[in-house]
Amino acid sequence: MNSIFQIRDNCMTIRVPEELDHHNALPIQQEADEVMMNRNIQTIVFDFRDTSFMDSSGIGVLMGRYRAIQRKGGQMQAENVSERIEKILRMSGISKLIPVNRKREWL
């Protein structure tokens, strides 16, 4: 079990690593699928607080999980996104499907 996954009741929180590319996406996809197979997950939260880089592989991770949770009638959201990650999510159209909340920037 990877420490970036936290499960509480029916909610799975995935703490996304600093960089979410194809290389880093594979273990997250596998583990998320495993958790969803074994538990009745109704909410997925992607926590982007540590994440500074994401490419289209990250979009694939989110889209795959979104489809899976939709099938179960659940929901998904993205939390603590930076300006950059927000832009990527907006460009991919995911922002229209799930709530995206910006990271609080300390000035």
Binding site: E19, H22, H23, Q29, F53, D55, S56, G60
Partner: protein, 176 residues
């Protein structure tokens, strides 16, 4: 066999640029790297190209754009061009004045239909949770994009980015 080509051009650079070549000596700075098509090299490749771009004194956003575009092209080569095989990927970079060209070259399976491959949301590997946004991101984050591919021979993704005029910029001719 015809080389399939698709040009997705942003506002083009003035066509007379090349003519200046003869008058002013062109000041370029080139860099190439070659590495194995292993997914752990995706991070290395984009960071290496971003490091080379620091001579242009880029903004954080420009660096992020460049890294994303390089990551997309390299990931495509790893997943689609070579699949499970480990072969070489080559990146050629050239800085010219305030622009940088990046070429990502593989000798993999090639793309049968380049325009189709470049359509947003199109992917040949949906089972791997591929979003199909790779080329769309390259196009969005760079100023020009050309994809040349021949089935069985390989693919070359050529991209160009213009770096904005930030104050305090260093230019190549100023290091004398």
């Amino acid at each position: 066999m015809a080389v399939r080509e698709m040009v997705a051009a942003r506002p083009k650079m003035p066509q007379n640029r090349g003519q200046r070549k003869g008058i002013i000596m062109e000041n370029t700075n080139e860099m190439s790297l070659e590495f194995d098509s292993r997914s752990l090299n995706e991070g290395f490749a984009r960071v290496a190209v971003a490091a080379f771009a620091t001579q242009l004194n880029p903004t954080l956003e420009e660096v992020a754009d460049l890294k994303t575009a390089v990551s997309e092209a390299v990931t495509n080569a790893i997943i689609h061009a070579y699949g499970k095989k480990v072969e070489k990927i080559r990146i050629n970079c050239c800085v010219r004045e305030r622009e940088m060209e990046v070429e990502v070259v593989d000798h993999g399976v090639g793309i049968r239909d380049v325009p189709k491959a470049m359509e947003p949301m199109y992917t040949t590997k949906p089972e791997l949770d591929r979003s199909g946004m790779g080329f769309a991101f390259m196009e969005a984050f760079m100023d020009e994009l050309q994809v040349r591919s021949e089935p069985g021979v390989g693919t070359t993704v050529w991209m160009k980015k213009k770096f904005g005029g930030r104050s305090g910029q260093r230019d190549l001719s100023g290091d004398a």
